[in-house]
Symmetry: C2
Subunit: 464 residues, 2 copies
Amino acid sequence: MATNNDDTTVVVGGDAAGLSAASKLKRDAPEQEVIVFERGEWVSYGACGLPYYVKGDIDRLDDLVVNDAETFREERDIDLRTGHEVVEIDVDERTVVVEADDGKFEQSYDNLVIATGARALVPPIDGADLDGLFTLQTMDAGGDIRKAVEHGIEGADEVIEPERVGIVGGGYVGVELAEAFHERGLEVHLFEMLPHVLNPFGESTARVVEEHLREHDVDLSLGTRVEAFNGEHGRVRSIETPEETVPVDLAILGVGVEPRVELAEQAGIETGPTGAIATDQYGETNVQDVYAAGDCAEATHTVTGAPDYVPLALTANRHGRAVGATIAGDPTPTGPIAGTAALKAFDLEAARTGIVDPERAEDVGFDPVSKTLELPSRAHYYPGSEEITVTLVADETTGRVLGASMVGREGVAQRINSVATALHTGVTVDELERFDFAYAPPFSPTWDPVLTAAKVLNGTIDSR
Amino acid sequence: MATNNDDTTVVVGGDAAGLSAASKLKRDAPEQEVIVFERGEWVSYGACGLPYYVKGDIDRLDDLVVNDAETFREERDIDLRTGHEVVEIDVDERTVVVEADDGKFEQSYDNLVIATGARALVPPIDGADLDGLFTLQTMDAGGDIRKAVEHGIEGADEVIEPERVGIVGGGYVGVELAEAFHERGLEVHLFEMLPHVLNPFGESTARVVEEHLREHDVDLSLGTRVEAFNGEHGRVRSIETPEETVPVDLAILGVGVEPRVELAEQAGIETGPTGAIATDQYGETNVQDVYAAGDCAEATHTVTGAPDYVPLALTANRHGRAVGATIAGDPTPTGPIAGTAALKAFDLEAARTGIVDPERAEDVGFDPVSKTLELPSRAHYYPGSEEITVTLVADETTGRVLGASMVGREGVAQRINSVATALHTGVTVDELERFDFAYAPPFSPTWDPVLTAAKVLNGTIDSR
């Protein structure tokens, strides 16, 4: 990690991880040259906001942009080149080959940051290439979906105004888009292959969300494999499952993402057990001076200590920033993840952290014990109290807290962070039960739901 | 802590701490006899709800009762005697003297739990005994204040319908009652001797609350010592300060509480440096088999490791419960406190934990450094984002997080608990900066305000 004033760093990818790395590096070592190649035109955007753009809560796609290209170029002195795709890396020669409108060229580097992100998975389903069928991974896709909702889908002979949408995949994107389309007045049918939506959140949270989705007229087909998209004149018209054929005017494929690792693999940069690029604690790959950060890279899970792949925005920002600091000469650990996440589903907040699935906990050597409780969000006498369903998971042998999932109409999305903090510090349920949390009648019962869950789970462990 | 099936435990005081101890003891050791003496008639009530009863959000005083006396007697087999005041303890003879309507009697005990609570401080101000002047410490006081607001204050010749209320003391009760009275249509004037309201929350939070109070037409006299309550016909009519005489029809004294320790002191049970009853980690006093819990007792501060006095409901419940478990034969630490608290002030949430005051931090041997930041509650593009003012305090030498205070219109009261967890586990700002918190556009920016505060404060420390 030696650093010199005349070093050149090349960053591949101009979104959260890449531009966090570039910005931090330029701030800490302004004399170094930083070149960012981004193959698309959008940079530094909040992809997590796309469902709300589709919904109409956000007016313009531009609103999702955190900083525009000019800011990076003018204010941060970063050589940010959009429309430039890195197509080859030579780690021995320390060069990359870049393709742009005006041809190919070679660029040398001293340090390389790979921030190629992830792509939406497209499973091998018949008809997945029909018009009117979208994934939601890029800004342009978000624009296309909203255009389809507002202006219809153009076909050979007519414009179809969509009235029915089929969403394949009940993860974050699927659930958030279900809300967005419902608010847009569309009939929504959601298909999930697994028995429940929101697999990382566990069954207790999923059941509450599912009931809530149904209350908002979202048709749910759970445990259902989509076998084909059927089309007419090249446009999607129905979704076929073993049980039924559901007519749709518009379809979304939201079955997950995979890391973009081909460029790295071709250069001999290793991927780890998850399939994403493997790094050390500073984000450095198996090749010296080549770093990876964001949705293309692995991270270390704070509970298991093992590599994991949870492509989320905070990790991309943070790991990019740490890599920037490290290249600038201050070795900075990227930090472990806990898989903490939150989600809005109509009037519900759902959140999770750590290991929620007992099978997963067993796989990594724990002896999991868990409790699911329905607890009030406010003092019993204070108006407007809502029920929060809390699941807390611990290791029975050590008492260590392993994870949690929660769902309710209020007080969930921030509450999960106290458990995330507990995971990072390796506390036991016995300790967590005794932590001093805030109490005020409008905001929690005397015993915060997290404390009550810890108390009850601790009692379960004690009595065995 | 030896325990026997035929032990008798006497509990002095029938609110949170006393009845938590009694309930836990009876659950874990049902064969033991548990007698609770409560000098009043109310038991197990949520005093924190009294401002909302005054406000009218809660219909009946009874609604604040968590469990009524019959529940404790019938369902939990606790010999709960209201209208019974313990007036003397003899720790050598292991007896207490009890006064009731039908006379005095002596009761022997094997274990004793002192849960005598706290009383509202009444400073030596002229006229503090006038009619129409109240403290808000008991259920009856809450009833009297609401009656005064709804039905007026009876005097010698006429009933005064209160239009103007003066609140002396800008702590929790003062600020919560300011909201309550304002919502009742009264003109509110709040007097605080210190330069700012909500002293434990620190200046940055206090200033935001003060501005908000003024927006709701609360007159604030800060740094103002009340010199006298002036009366007519025995009723309070004005409040006098060095600067002015403010006419009022109703006055509240909310300048804090003090632990009720006289009964314990008379028996040779020691108080600590804070003036409250000193205990060990199991809540046991200097006298064997005599315990103290709740608002009459000290607790250990998790940051300083020293005794502290922060009389709040969760601590009373938790410490009472731990003492009950210990007496039942399972030695259970009461657990340290962090002074975590939350408060609603009109549309604001305020919260604090740990050591917020730099002078206090210096007094206990730290080298405090702090940052106050105004940060958004949601993603920049998501509608309805509100500003959260976050103050984070750390020790510059070690980087350890010492405390935090926050205020804003949303996302504060639960957010503080992640910092409380960090305090209990002794994390540094460098560690906190890297914790994996939840991000979803409706609930937080990519970097949660707590993480951003840690990041900025960490940067400050690094650059020194």
